[in-house]
Amino acid sequence: MRKVVCRCEDLTEEEIVHAIELGYDDIESLKRYTGATTGPCQGKGCLMHVLRILSQKTGKSIDEIGITTQRPPVNPVPLYILASGEEK
């Protein structure tokens, strides 16, 4: 059975666990190595799952692990809309 954790980047729980075992065992490194939270949803669908797996594997609490830096924009914005903005 495949447990899909990140639909944007097509990542399974097994792949996340494998990356943690390789030593990418802090949330920022895990994000970058697996690509989780870097797709179109920017983590809205997967960050909590990744956190749970990392917490279970390392024994660290969610608070200890923390979350990835949340980067703008909240939702994807097309370039033509941004380009119509006013320059400071």
Binding site: D26, E28, S29, R32, Y33, G35, T38, G39, P40, Q42, T69, R71, P72, P73, P76, V77, P78, L79, Y80, I81, L82, A83, G85, E86, E87, K88
Partner: protein, 342 residues
């Protein structure tokens, strides 16, 4: 010999790797996670189109080292030599071409229309001339760092992440570093990028380097579409397609400090990018971020031992770290080994 390296970016890790190959005991200290600094935040452009002989030579040597290290370590850096395009509004902005050709760079000086043959969707009214370097291209900076870290670990190098290290000096001589606990070392390498200035100033070493902030953003992924890395020297716009398919781009930075992302940047970038490549209009920006880098005087890297005995400077790469740092690390390794022989 024992060497402590502060900063696990491309320069620090490559130096650790080269030193370990020579049998040196190396420990690397990174204040945050690997990829936290400029090596993890840049857009991966690779070129040798510089205005200085030393930089050109370092870039050419780095080209060779990328090939060598990929196979030696057994890690794919996701490097694509699909050309580096410097665009400009005036020919004067590209007059460096003749100088660069003297060092064997096979450059093409093109008119805007000719660039349309390399990349048909480019707006040939957004610039007049271009310098095209076919050997340039794009590398995935994260893969370079993962690969170098793997190479280091395979050779027994200790990499301590989340460990902020301070140089320990006694009677003007390096004793090692303190990072929670003391680690003895005859040589300490300051390869902490934008943070290396702070390290120097703490030791009373005068450091005139400028810290620059640069912002970048990525779009959603699309099929392979844009081959060369593009830098518009007249307005600072740069963009390329990563091996993941995203269009990665930004605007050359200014020295104003901070690492925050700004909405103003997104607007400026969107205007410049869609003017240069109108078809990008419909693509969405997924994420933006900022990074800081340290620029040496006259754009040159800072390499060599400093007035604190045993402290080796390896910083000041500016925007050119991915293009030149491997060769700088090789040079640093030689100088550290030679100093030890004396």
């Amino acid at each position: 010999m024992k060497v402590a390296i502060i900063g696990a970016g491309i320069a620090g890790l490559a130096t650790a790797y080269f030193l370990a190959k020579e049998g040196v005991k190396v420990k690397v200290f990174e204040q945050k996670f690997l990829l936290h600094g400029a090596s993890g935040r840049n857009s991966g452009g690779l070129t040798a189109q510089f205005k200085d002989e030393e930089l050109i030579k370092l870039a050419l040597r780095s080209e060779e080292l990328y090939e060598k290290l990929q196979s030696e370590i057994g890690f794919n850096f996701l490097l694509r030599r699909s050309g580096y395009l410097k665009l400009a509004k005036t020919k004067e902005e590209l007059e460096e071409v003749e100088f660069q050709r003297r060092f064997g760079l096979k450059l093409k000086l093109l008119h805007a229309e000719e660039v349309g043959e390399i990349f048909p969707d480019i707006n040939t009214n957004a610039f007049k001339f271009a310098s095209y370097y076919p050997r340039g291209g794009v590398v995935f900076p994260w893969a370079v760092i993962w690969g170098l870290a793997k190479g280091c670990k395979d050779l027994g190098v200790e990499i301590h992440d989340f460990k902020k290290a301070e140089v320990v000096v006694e009677n003007g001589k390096v004793k090692g570093v303190s990072a929670g606990e003391f680690h003895e070392a005859e040589v300490v390498v300051n390869s902490a990028g934008a943070w290396s200035k702070e390290i120097n100033e703490k030791l009373g070493i005068k450091d005139e380097r400028v810290i620059v902030k640069e912002e970048i953003c990525v779009t959603e992924s699309i099929r392979p579409y844009l081959d060369p890395y593009i830098l518009h020297v007249s307005n600072g716009l740069f963009l390329s397609q990563s091996m993941r398919g995203e269009i990665v781009g930004g605007i050359v930075g200014k020295s104003n400090g901070g690492v925050g992302s700004s909405f103003d940047f997104l607007v400026r970038y969107a205007k410049l990018a869609t003017n240069l490549v109108p078809k990008l209009k419909g693509l969405s920006i997924l994420r933006q971020w900022a990074g800081v880098y340290d620029e040496g005087i006259n754009g040159k890297p800072v390499m060599g031992f400093s007035k604190v005995q045993g402290l080796y400077q390896l910083n000041g790469f500016g925007r050119n770290g991915m293009s030149i740092a491997l060769a700088c690390a090789e040079k640093a390794t030689k100088e550290i080994l030679n100093a030890q022989l004396r």
